[in-house]
């Protein structure tokens, strides 16, 4: 415990801190308002009259992003898990099997060869799933999202030419964003699962938990705490990335709507100031919320270190 006088002077500094921060923030806002509304002549009347349309467009952005994010989480978790395991190519499995068979004694005849084929297929399957997942992530991470969106969109137009353009756009937008975030989230999950110490899995298996049980009760609860921050960043990133759906044009998401308004009403600055402001209004509270969630579910010794005080 610090002496009281020290404690008091510290709180005095804290108040000064807050005051200084408030002055700087208010000053900055006043200056910005001055520049935007007065010197540039930002049309406040336009903004106050038409912001509901922007909010509706923002809702579509959030909607598309959230659906893609949740679907992508399924893909990401599955791929992440597969890619966090070890898989050996068939040739090596066969070689190991051969040396094992050579050293096995006659008394070991209980192991039948009919199981052999099953094992072989399982190992081979696992290995190729592993490699396919690697390839998928390499493709997703190695090509621009804009290209992926246009690619999917063209495919949708070719295969569903009769579909309503709005549906075409929505469908291709969701498919492209899902595929994209799935690839990135698989990297997050792979890293999270990998970071959980291997001794934890060993201890879980040693008490008789199955592979899935160890994942469900030991690895995941720890991994989730580790992946919450990067997963949140992924959501915020995806929301911003959803602005690339402007290339599709038929979805009235926020950026597309902003461009439409800008070109049709000539309020270019107002439109993009509003668009930027709304993105900020979503992303900043989202990251604040997640900081709170992180604190709430923090466990001593896991992830960010908590103060070492007993909870008893």
């Amino acid at each position: 415990m610090a002496p009281i006088s020290q404690e008091r002077s510290r709180s005095r500094w804290r108040i000064l801190d807050v005051v200084a921060a408030a002055v700087v923030t208010i000053g900055a806002i006043a200056y910005l308002a001055d520049v935007l509304a007065l010197r540039w002549g930002l049309n406040v009347a336009y903004i106050s009259a038409s912001y509901p349309g922007y909010l509706k467009a923002a809702w579509i952005s959030v909607y598309v992003t959230t659906i893609s994010y949740v679907l992508g989480m399924g893909i990401g978790f599955a791929l992440g898990w597969v890619r966090s395991t070890q898989a050996r190519p068939l040739v090596k499995v066969l070689a190991a099997r051969r040396s094992e068979a050579a050293s096995a004694t006659a008394a070991d005849g209980g192991r039948s060869d009919r199981l052999f084929l099953g094992t072989l297929m399982l190992y081979g399957f696992k290995y190729y799933v592993h490699r396919a997942a690697d390839a998928y992530v390499a493709i997703i991470r190695g090509t621009p999202l804009l290209v992926q969106i246009v690619f999917v969109w063209s495919a949708v137009i070719v295969y569903f030419p009769r579909l309503d353009p709005l549906l075409q756009g929505l469908l291709s937008g969701i498919i492209a964003l899902t595929a994209n975030t799935g690839g990135y989230q698989s990297e997050i999950f792979r890293a999270g699962i990998h970071t959980v110490h291997s001794g934890q899995v060993e201890a879980a298996r040693a008490m008789g938990l199955s592979r899935w049980g160890a994942m469900r009760y030991v690895v995941l609860p720890q991994a989730i705490r580790l992946v919450i921050p990067p997963l949140t960043n992924e959501y915020i990133g995806l929301l911003k990335a959803s602005s690339l759906l402007i290339a599709v044009g038929s979805i009235a998401e926020l950026t597309t709507y902003g461009r439409f308004e800008a070109f049709h009403t000539a309020h270019v600055f107002e439109a993009f100031a509003l668009v930027s402001g709304i993105y900020l209004l979503i992303t900043v509270p989202a990251s604040k919320l997640i900081e709170w969630v992180e604190r709430r579910f923090r466990v001593p010794g896991l992830g960010i270190q908590a103060p070492r005080t007993a909870r008893v």
Binding site: E100, G208, Q222
Partner: protein, 241 residues
């Protein structure tokens, strides 16, 4: 209780176990000593099938358990294991660590498991630490929780893999005391350790391993005072200083 016959294990080009056979009676304490890399840990992990042996047989209560038609999980439920690095589940409190197995593996009622868990924590002298996370416990306390966690599964036998090697000297005593009490209560134990005091007083039989083979086997006195093999003599000399 536990019998091992002609166990062989390779890790790639490494021949880790070269024909190990041993037997442990019910209620017996077997101590395994040997230099690092001699295959002691691998042997323990082959017994509860955390590692699948290349060949050879493992028997539990007279039943061969390393067969394809026996689930390794079923074996592991009955053989508890305590690790060198504790491996307590970092996101769970001491009590939750102890009750996870009974609730999730055995399907016991959580209330019952919790009552049992508190009793076990009291047995290892940590009744007041039930709501504390592993990171807030000392090494010795963590290892005692780990022992309680293994006991919660009501195992037929316990495997200890160098349970005191990662501990600061001042915490070794408390863990060894818990283990000695377990042995007195008639638990079947296989202990890999270099604690000669423990080996001498608690174990009936000591087994010296080197390079994947059992070099020598005997009572504590035979191994420590009158080792027959040259390698045993060298190793014991180094340990006893």
């Amino acid at each position: 209780m536990i019998r091992v016959e002609d166990l062989e294990k390779h890790f790639g080009p490494l021949h880790v176990l070269r024909g190990i056979s041993l037997e442990v009676q019910k209620g017996e304490v077997l101590v395994i000593i040997g230099p690092s890399g001699s295959g002691k840990s691998t042997l323990l992990r082959c017994i509860n099938l955390l590692i699948e042996p290349d060949s050879g047989r493992v028997f539990l209560d007279g039943v061969q358990v390393n067969r394809r038609d026996i689930r390794p999980e079923w074996v592991r439920q009955q053989v508890g294991m305590v690790f060198q690095s504790f491996n307590l589940f970092a996101h769970l409190t001491a009590l939750e660590n102890v009750t996870l197995g009974p609730i999730r593996v055995l399907g016991n009622d959580p209330k019952v498991a919790e009552a049992e868990g508190r009793k076990l924590l009291a047995r290892v002298g940590l009744a007041d630490k039930w709501n504390v996370y592993p990171a807030q416990l000392s090494g010795g306390q963590q290892q005692r929780v780990a022992i309680a966690r293994a006991l919660a599964m009501n195992p037929k036998a316990m495997l200890f893999d160098e349970p005191t090697s990662a501990l600061d000297p001042e915490y070794i005593r408390e863990v060894l005391d818990v283990m000695a009490a377990l042995a007195r209560d008639g638990m079947t134990m296989i202990v890999v350790t270099h604690e000669m005091g423990f080996a001498g007083t608690v174990a009936k039989r000591i087994l010296f391993m080197d390079a994947g083979r059992i070099i020598e086997e005997g009572s504590p006195e035979e191994i420590f005072q009158h080792p027959q093999q040259e390698r045993t003599r060298t190793f014991v000399g180094k340990i006893l200083r």
